[in-house]
């Protein structure tokens, strides 16, 4: 009898495997698949809007990298050495439709962090200066009385610090302008000594001499255009599409950097912009290479605060 019951239970056991009840509907047998090629885990295969460039050799803001304890960014010409104890744990998100970049996030576990960001001033929704930020700091933070600037070699960083009394956290925000971007270093910690150390380290930051084009906001206005082709977007997602272009001395568009667009949109915008012709930008009567911004897509979806940069739209 016991043997019979044992056989019965053994025969019935597949019915209760893994929480499945008795199979009564046909299912594809995974063993019939010739070679299993699983979707890679923890991988974003279907992103939303992403940046895209017309070539891979021209530097773009999002291409900075962290190697050992140095953050480098060719577009901004930055070489920043940070303390060894800080590590980069995660990559940041893609650039936003308002031109915000998370360049690097570095952590000293449970003790503090360094956040390096850049805000493209041509597409910001709010004025990028420290005065605006200080005036609009949420009321649960308290501004600290600190020197308003920090010198780092030839460059000046605007500085403001604030604290959260309830959290015991301190922030030190230092920003400088590079190529019409507000490049910002945010140091966070409960340890004011650590923040002092980080600020001291920032004074050693190097900015390489580059032949970067001059940034001219709002140059893509009708009076400066000789010829343009309008991109015909086939996929309406009601998203703004911010774009930076580099215009050569001859007025031709040499490089297009779409900061944020869906795959179906980016190529169309790049192809159109590469056909644009501008009047050359003159400095002391001589044509120079410049970069400027253009906004496509749904501008109406994002309003701007007074004081934010005006931007030519399509």
């Amino acid at each position: 009898m016991r043997a019979f019951l044992l056989v019965l239970l053994t025969a019935a056991s597949p019915l209760f495997a893994q929480g499945d009840f008795a199979p009564s509907a046909p299912q594809n047998d995974p063993n019939q698949v010739k070679t299993l090629k699983p979707v890679p885990a923890n991988t974003i295969l279907l992103p939303g809007a992403l940046p895209k460039s017309s070539d891979t050799k021209t530097a773009v803001p999002e291409e900075g990298n962290v190697h050992k304890n140095v953050y480098e960014n060719r577009y901004f010409g930055i070489e920043y050495a940070f303390p060894d104890a800080f590590v980069k744990q995660f990559d940041g998100p893609p650039p936003s439709e308002t031109g915000k970049y998370v360049l690097a996030e570095l952590e000293l576990k449970d003790r503090g962090s360094i956040l390096i960001t850049a805000q493209d001033e041509l597409f910001a929704l709010t004025p990028g200066d420290a005065k605006y930020a200080r005036e609009h700091l949420p009321s649960f933070y308290k501004l600290e009385d600190v020197p308003p600037e920090l010198k780092a070699g030839e460059r000046t960083f605007v500085r403001y610090d604030y604290t959260s009394p309830v959290a015991g956290l301190h922030w030190s925000v230092l920003s400088t302008e590079v190529r019409c971007h507000e490049v910002q270093f945010v140091f966070t910690s409960r340890d004011t000594g650590l923040l002092e150390q980080l600020r001291g380290g920032l004074t050693q930051i190097k900015f390489a001499e580059t032949d970067a084009p001059r940034c001219v906001p709002n140059y893509a206005r009708a009076e400066n255009l000789i010829y343009k082709v309008d991109p015909v977007l086939t996929d309406t997602k009601y998203n703004p599409i911010p774009v930076r272009v580099i215009i050569g001395k001859n007025g031709k568009v040499e490089h297009v950097h779409v900061i944020s667009a869906f795959r179906s949109q980016a190529g169309i915008v790049i192809d159109a912009l590469l056909q644009w012709r501008f009047k050359p930008y003159l400095v002391n009567g001589e044509p120079v290479e410049i970069e400027t911004g253009v906004l496509f897509g749904s501008e109406k979806s994002r309003k701007r605060e007074p004081g934010a940069q005006s931007i030519a739209t399509d």
């Binding site: 009564s24 047998d29 992103p47």
Partner: protein, 463 residues
């Protein structure tokens, strides 16, 4: 507790927090702090609105069957494919209109009334209610084709074998999807029910209010940005669903009725096949016994009886009051208040905006120019590869999700879009991964002391 024991108890608690760190207090006890109507609705202002709330709630709780001929299952139109037989069975915690309950009703749904379904292994008795999606279609070799996005809901069950199902509707013509294959190839993701309390307030927040809030928050030192999802037809801001993909409660209700229960309705008028199924075999006629749409406006009846179920569901959701937070539980008012301050200080409120104001409502005064304490900006944000599900919806990419409204969180059991955890600390830590906008905020949270983190947890569980 005696006078002598109380200080000892407090000391032990403090020592526990400092030695063992912060802990999720768990689901807040006491009665359900949600599920009733808005106050003006409860007062029947305007007159008869309470009838519509009650009628909508009844419909929400109705169990659907194929023909509506089974006792206790008067709803018509279940299937041919479905995930559940009733809205309220899945939107149940802590009350009707909530989120996934502790005991998963889908275990019973798959076998109810003689149905012969295999319950997939990811549906367990004490796990969350789930719908499943395959991010990608399969190629001819049975592998996911990452160049061919899918992302649509793959209904768990069919009506095959049910006592009210046509005899010609068999498993050979209406099979269940290949969940085993999808699991073996990592080509499956899950979603669990979103709670619906306060939905009318969310629906009545004007786009301009949302834009103003988003603009103000864009100036931050946390690396947070986000963007709105938009209705594809008119470009206005959509706001319901895990990716804010749905515009209004009525669209939300109609889609869910069709997708989750298989009931065709005036918004989604055809029976819904599996993604891609209509291009091959289609839904077999033998499994579609009802004229369509199965849910529709009713004529020659009472005022509330005239509504279709879909409109009734929408009205119920719209008139549901938001959850009532606790000021003392768990942890006491000091801890909760401190936690609220810390929640803002570390930056959580950057996306989980504590409150927004609605515009004037034509329905009822409680929806009109009201403060919605929803703890969400209603934007979609990049949440990184740890939470990415590779399903795009509208303008929301595979790693983007709407800031989940946190009101009512205290009495929820399962967290995140797929209900992967019941532990609030785990849910918080999952916000950080490569590509997430929340990394700096989580880093700030991690610098807090154990007791401060406990205050934040207590605050969240008080919501």
């Amino acid at each position: 507790m005696t006078q002598r024991a109380a200080p000892i108890f407090i000391l032990i608690t403090l020592l526990s927090v400092s030695l063992f760190g912060q802990t999720d207090p768990g689901v807040r006890g006491g009665g359900a702090a949600a599920g009733g109507p808005l106050s003006s609705v409860a007062a029947n202002i305007p007159v008869t609105i309470l009838d519509f709330f009650n009628d909508g709630q009844d419909r929400f709780q109705e169990v659907d069957s194929v023909a509506g001929t089974l006792a206790g299952e008067e709803g018509v139109g279940l299937g041919p494919r479905f995930n559940s037989r009733s809205c309220a069975s899945c939107h149940a915690q802590p009350a009707v209109g909530g989120s996934a309950p502790a005991v998963n009703p889908q275990i019973g749904d798959g076998a109810a009334d003689g149905a012969r379904n295999t319950v997939p292994s990811f549906i367990t008795r004490n796990g969350p209610v789930r719908e499943a999606r395959f991010p990608f279609f399969f190629d001819n070799n049975g592998n996911p084709d990452t160049n061919n996005p899918n992302g649509g809901v793959e209904d768990l069950f069919t009506i095959v074998g049910r006592s009210d199902s046509p005899s010609g509707c068999t498993a050979s013509i209406l099979p269940q999807p290949s969940f085993s294959q999808a699991q073996a190839t990592g080509n499956i993701i899950f979603r669990m029910p979103t709670p619906l309390f306060g939905a009318g307030l969310i629906e009545n927040i004007d786009d301009a209010t949302l834009q103003t809030n988003a603009r103000a928050n864009d100036n931050n030192r946390l690396g947070v940005s986000g963007h709105f999802n938009h209705n594809g037809n008119d470009g206005t801001i959509s706001r319901f669903g895990w990716k804010a993909q749905n515009k209004s409660l009525e669209i939300f209700a109609g889609e869910a009725y069709n997708v989750e229960q298989g009931v065709s309705n005036e918004l989604f008028t055809q029976e819904r096949p599996l993604p891609g199924e209509d291009g091959t075999t289609g839904l077999p006629a033998a499994c579609r016994p009802n004229p369509t749409p199965e849910d529709h406006t009713n004529f020659n009846t009472t005022a509330t009886g005239t509504l279709s179920d879909t409109v009734g569901f929408a009205m119920f959701m719209r008139l549901l009051a938001p959850p009532t937070p606790s000021t003392t539980t768990p942890g006491g008012s000091s801890s909760i208040n401190n936690g609220r301050s810390l929640f803002a200080a570390v930056g959580c409120s950057q996306c989980h905006t504590p409150s927004l104001t609605t515009s004037a409502s034509s329905f009822t005064s409680s929806l009109s120019n009201a403060t919605a304490n929803l703890y969400s900006d209603l934007l979609v944000h990049h949440m990184g590869n740890g939470l990415a599900d590779n399903v795009s919806q509208g303008g929301a990419g595979g790693d983007e999700f709407r800031s989940s409204p946190l009101w009512g969180l205290g009495q929820r059991i399962f967290f995140l879009h797929d209900g992967r955890t019941t532990n609030l600390l785990t849910a918080i830590s999952q916000h950080a991964s490569s590509g997430s906008e929340a990394n700096a905020v989580i880093s700030n949270f991690n610098t807090l002391s154990s007791s401060q983190k406990q205050d934040v947890l207590n605050f969240l569980r008080s919501l």
